[in-house]
Symmetry: C2
Subunit: 202 residues, 2 copies
Amino acid sequence: MTLLDTRGAAALTMRNIADELGCTQASLYRHVRNREELVTLLVDRALDVASSAPPDGMDWAGKAAWSARLFRAHLLRHPGVASLLRGTERLGPNSLAGVQYSLELFINAGLSPRLASAAASSLATFVIGSVHLNLGLDMSDPEESRHRRLLYRSRDAATFPLLVQHADTLAEVSSDDEFEVGLNALLTGFRALIQNSDITRD
Amino acid sequence: MTLLDTRGAAALTMRNIADELGCTQASLYRHVRNREELVTLLVDRALDVASSAPPDGMDWAGKAAWSARLFRAHLLRHPGVASLLRGTERLGPNSLAGVQYSLELFINAGLSPRLASAAASSLATFVIGSVHLNLGLDMSDPEESRHRRLLYRSRDAATFPLLVQHADTLAEVSSDDEFEVGLNALLTGFRALIQNSDITRD
DNA sequence: ACCTGAACACCGTTCAAGT
DNA sequence: ACCTGAACACCGTTCAAGT
């Protein structure tokens, strides 16, 4: 865990883990079948944020937004965890707690179990995908913004007119902005979905 | 390219590439700095679908949905490409063409360049994230659905009541369903955003 | 039961040496 | 300029041998 946070996902090798634990690499295979199994266990343990519930007094959309922001912030604080987060291994108890919670949220909001599941999945997909796509980048770094502006501006104006024209704007859009716009759009869409299924039910 | 499609991303090693090309691994470093640079070039070349535009006669939402589904289908058909798709390397000409196109779409729909960029990014994030989270899984495989049903049903009913109760429903929700629900919600949210900025402008 | 040392078959990358 | 052979420092995994 500390190894992953301090030296990154690339340094999470069986040898380094064994060193950190004070044993040989071969010993690890007494407690774990594969490296993959170890990663699965590690990732689920790292997802214990999902259990912290939003404060009371919010409607479902407020709670969903609160949880999504918390989850995203946690992943951004632990990029190593985020980079190991795939779809296959979301079976651990902490991940399941997250599924249970978001499912409850959307069902109580008025969605059918099927739609609630799809909505919760979509939201998680967006949060994880959002962190994933910005893993290498540090948007607060001014160097990064300058680099992107140059990339857009130096394109051929005939084939990429909009990129050249709005280079400055595009370079300035932070990943936080992107996330908020997408999160808001998703929740607005879910709200419409709930109203529609209410109408259908009447 | 054929190596990636036939034997997967794990088999995309410098040795295998060199074999496929009929040279030694060391020769590759005359044409490419890193393996990473090679992957970047390869991924961008694999994204040539972005250039195929949707048929005329659709509104912006229809076009966006059409492009998103096309992109997703392409990635699902080439899982190796999808697994290599990170955020850092979207600089290639094909990726930029996709950015230019989606930007044009949302600006013409009535969004400011800033919001259009965020909307386009969010949509791409959702598509890529959606494919990413289902990379290992084959939902059409009945074995997979049975496994998921068992996973949910065998949980502790006291801590995960909803998972146990709706195990059958949850196991049956396909990734296609999830994607359609999320896509629809996003586009509905963007539509509301456009109407809002129209009102603000008046 | 748990650990060790040593090996195996793989990686990406480098570099002197060839043509 | 481009390619080769051989090496380097790493991987994950296995296995007989120890306690």
